[in-house]
Symmetry: C2
Subunit: 567 residues, 2 copies
């Protein structure tokens, strides 16, 4: 049977995108084929062919609610699902549960055909999946919003185009890595009895089933890199979503399976393993002998368990860290405060890259508005946050909703841990009266206190930050080094006008292997990284063993089999 | 102080070599800057500037004997060393033992300066080390011969130029991987309020101390890839030789330290950790928190222990497998026998790539000399081995010496395990009357016997092969698959004139991830791989988790720290 999506058609559609993606992973310039403006979607003049408009996406999401999710996947058992929107309603969707004893062999059986496709066709099929996901961005944005609590605009951008960018970056990198050796060549070694000749063939082969263990917050953004890196390198991918954030990945799996089938491949190359809340099937799946690759985003404790126990697999983890900003001095005091206020507020601090500890010398900092004491800095930052979030509608659009009860509890308990310099308030949502929305809280701590150390050296995920009074900037940098080494960091920020302090901050981050942003005062936040250009995480401190998306994230997902023949 | 080896001088000398090496890792053609003919060394017209001649190398080796090995390394404690040549004499060399509590911090302290050198200068310094090692190839060849038992020509070629080729391949790959991102760039994202701009810098940083755990057989060939991959990516390398094969790596460390110092870097970037036989310091070293990378070649049991326990480190292992040759049919019967006879005899089968199991249908094979029964094939192969090794001098030059008493014991016990179809004899050595030299032994086994399965499915390192009678070639291929999956394989061979059987062999090796050589009848053996062109091992079956030298062997030895600054 000739597939409807032929290799030639896929090449015509996507080879240009793949080439530009490849080129951009090298130049690191700004580029994306996925528009981030919702207005670019839907209608005849859309920049995304065949895409839904935002209202169409909303309607599609509503149509999914309170129905069984339809998935054409073999070996189904019963149904599970109990997602609750952080905006205050049940999704009412249930998903088929897979019979893993039957599914895993079916996935393995799909490998030879996918291997035979070769790196280019695999990449093109992946780009087609990404293009179809992009056309459904408005619907997926609603699914992301109502599983993670992200405000709509963030759910749209981070859950749609930015996640697709990271997926495409992984596909481009995977293609790149798999094509570094020639497919075939003749080798000839000079010899006095005539050249010794061999014909050599190099075939990239996948490792086995790749398990994606999804998270609750950046479901697609953190999920797509591993999913597409593994798929493009020849591995079937079993997607195990977080039980509270199934829908975005279930839609992804369905679209991937449809695309694979239309291109003539076994749809079991991508499959869903849904589970009910609290079942914990990830642990069992992670130890299955068929599972040879694991991508995980989530708690440090489970990440470390995977690294130590799933030794039959390549394990890629993004865990948790204690992100730090060292504040030494600035020539743009107001802009610094504005940038930090946004960093602390965006998605209620529920980003793995949100700053937690702000290290400020207790005797204050030099600024373009003169010397500011520790107390003044924390008060001015609190005022900047209050100003940013003063209007309820704007506050809700920045904050999104609180993703789970544990985060809410941390917000409530934070003021007990020190001197509250910014207090949290509940924000109402115009459309969703039961949404749980809170402004950030910030607590001042004494950096020389051992009790305080116990507080600021533990990760406190959510909109809670600690303003830590240090003896000096040198003391701040020493604490930064210790924090990164022992607790890890996904991001480090620094503000200074001193070349010497800047040099010391850079050396600290090179030594401890952390990504550093200096003097951010514009619209880019320390929490944000841009696909094709920025690395997300360093992979060299306890917060994560990967960086998105570098060669190390790709190169060990496949192996190369060489076939030598006497010429 | 200006270093005598400046960056400009190193670039003038070695940039061309580095560029050709880089290009060749992509084209995979035959190339080497290290001559494999001993006559190319020494004298005025040498192809290797400043090199020793073979007699000079022999004299240098003799001068090392019965003296303390001089090593300019800090933190030395007492002295150790008790190497015995497999050719029957004590080397009488002792080595300084390092005080690790002082050495490891000194090695870590060397990192910032080496990091600041950047990828190109690091690569050029590494190429200079390789060039100096090449000039000392004649001396190192004697050191390799008298620690491993390799015959002189193999010790010269595999221990010298071929090992240097693998080291240079690692340096080229390391440079390549570290320079895939720009050093610096300005990123600009269009925005209606004017472009959002950031200056970005990408700095490759090493992970920490890299530990090389040396083996007893291919001391330099298996050691140099990890050593140079780690050093070129910014890591200090602690070299822990096998207690029976210290000298080749001690010379390597000394030359590396001299070169580093002359180039203005801390010589503690490479250091030796010698130990006495039976001390087992590798286990302690492997768990040190400073150690972040481990390269290991040796037994499966210790390799698996490292993989499961040294979780603070990236662990690269080459362990052991059961290498198999499937014999189905041939149109070059004599040439096949000759090629296999050489494969089984070379260095007394003490190569990780030497075939162990020859799978032959019990009802025989079709050949250009007509149908040959199982018994005829094994008898003809035995005759081919006897012919190859009929002359004692030639036998000694092919076989080398038996590396240790365990191998000797296996040779002696082999005939008890089945029907001996080729028996071993002792070979005298003209120059070394106490050398332990033995011809190979081969034992016929019934592939349908469970007892026999226990024999041929265990690795039997040394000149012992099993001719396994199978029901059919299909049965052979099924056994091949099971062997690779469960026991691993560094190499697989196949002989067939049938396109269908060839296709099945290829599919089996793609499925089980093993390197396949088909119908080798010339001077290339299944045991041999050529740097820059062939991959050594697949990294995808239990025999090894690495392939020499691919991107995965390099990419995770360093991390990239990004520094973003508001533009």
């Amino acid at each position: 049977m000739t597939p409807s999506l032929t290799a030639a058609r896929l090449a015509e559609r996507h080879r240009g995108t793949l080439d530009t993606a490849l080129e951009t992973t090298r130049t690191r310039v700004h580029w994306s084929p996925h528009p981030e403006n919702p207005k670019a979607y839907g209608g005849e003049n859309t920049a995304v062919p065949g895409s839904q408009s935002v209202p169409e996406g909303a309607a599609a999401f509503e149509a999914l609610r309170d129905t069984p999710f339809d998935l054409d996947q073999p070996a189904l058992a019963d149904r599970v699902g109990d997602e609750i929107s952080p905006y205050g309603f049940r999704l009412g969707i249930d998903y088929p549960r897979a019979d893993l004893e039957a599914l895993l062999p079916a996935m393995r059986a799909a490998m030879p055909g996918w291997r035979a496709a070769g790196p280019e066709l695999r990449a093109l099929v992946c780009v087609e999946i990404l293009a179809r996901l992009n056309a459904r961005t408005p619907e997926i944005a609603h699914a992301v919003m109502h599983t993670t609590g992200q405000a709509f605009m963030m759910a749209f951008q981070a859950g749609g185009p930015h996640a697709l960018d990271r997926g495409l970056e992984a596909v481009a990198r995977a293609y790149d890595e798999q094509t570094r050796l020639p497919e075939r060549m003749r080798w000839a070694k000079p010899d006095k009895r005539g050249p010794v000749e061999l014909d050599k063939e190099f075939v990239p082969v996948g490792r086995g089933v790749s398990l994606l263990i999804g998270c609750n917050t950046f479901v697609t953004w953190n999920g797509y890199p591993g999913l597409f890196a593994s798929l493009a390198t020849g591995n079937p991918v079993l997607v195990k979503p977080h039980p509270r954030a199934v829908l975005p990945l279930a839609l992804t799996v369905r679209i991937a399976r449809e695309t694979l089938a239309e291109a003539g491949f076994d749809p079991n190359l991508v499959a869903l393993a849904a589970e009910g809340d609290g079942e914990g099937i990830a642990k069992e799946l992670a130890l299955r002998p068929e599972v040879r690759i694991i991508d995980y985003t989530g708690s440090a404790s489970f990440g470390e368990w995977l690294e130590g126990n799933a030794t039959q697999a390549q394990v890629y983890t993004e865990k948790a860290g204690v992100n730090t900003v060292v504040i030494d001095s600035t020539d743009s005091y107001r802009a610094m405060l504005g940038n930090l206020a946004f960093s602390l507020s965006l998605y209620s601090g529920q980003m793995c890259t949100t700053p937690q500890n702000l290290l400020i010398p207790r005797d204050g900092i030099d600024t373009d508005e003169g010397r500011k004491t520790f107390t003044e800095v924390t008060a001015d930052l609190a005022a900047a946050v209050d100003k940013l979030l003063g209007d309820d509608a704007r506050a809700a659009a920045v904050l999104g909703a609180v993703v789970n009860p544990q985060v809410l509890e941390r917000i409530e308990k934070a003021p007990e841990q020190g001197e509250a310099v910014l207090t949290s308030r509940a924000v109402p949502h115009a459309d969703h009266p039961d949404a749980t929305i809170r402004t950030p809280v910030s607590v001042a701590l004494d950096g020389s206190s051992a009790d305080a150390e116990g507080v600021h050296q533990a990760e406190c995920f959510g909109p809670v930050s600690f303003a830590v009074a240090t003896d000096s900037t040198a003391d701040s940098i020493a604490l930064l080094r210790r924090t990164v080494r022992e607790r890890g960091a996904m991001s480090v920020g620094g503000y200074t006008t001193s070349p010497e302090v800047e040099r010391e901050l850079v050396e600290a981050c090179l030594d401890e292997c952390a990504q550093l942003s200096l003097n951010l005062t514009g619209s880019v936040l320390v929490n944000q990284t841009s696909a094709f250009s920025d690395l997300h995480g360093s992979g060299g401190n306890p917060a994560a063993n990967v960086a998105l998306v570098d060669a190390a994230f790709i190169a060990n997902r496949f192996r190369t089999v060489e076939i030598r023949r006497q010429a």
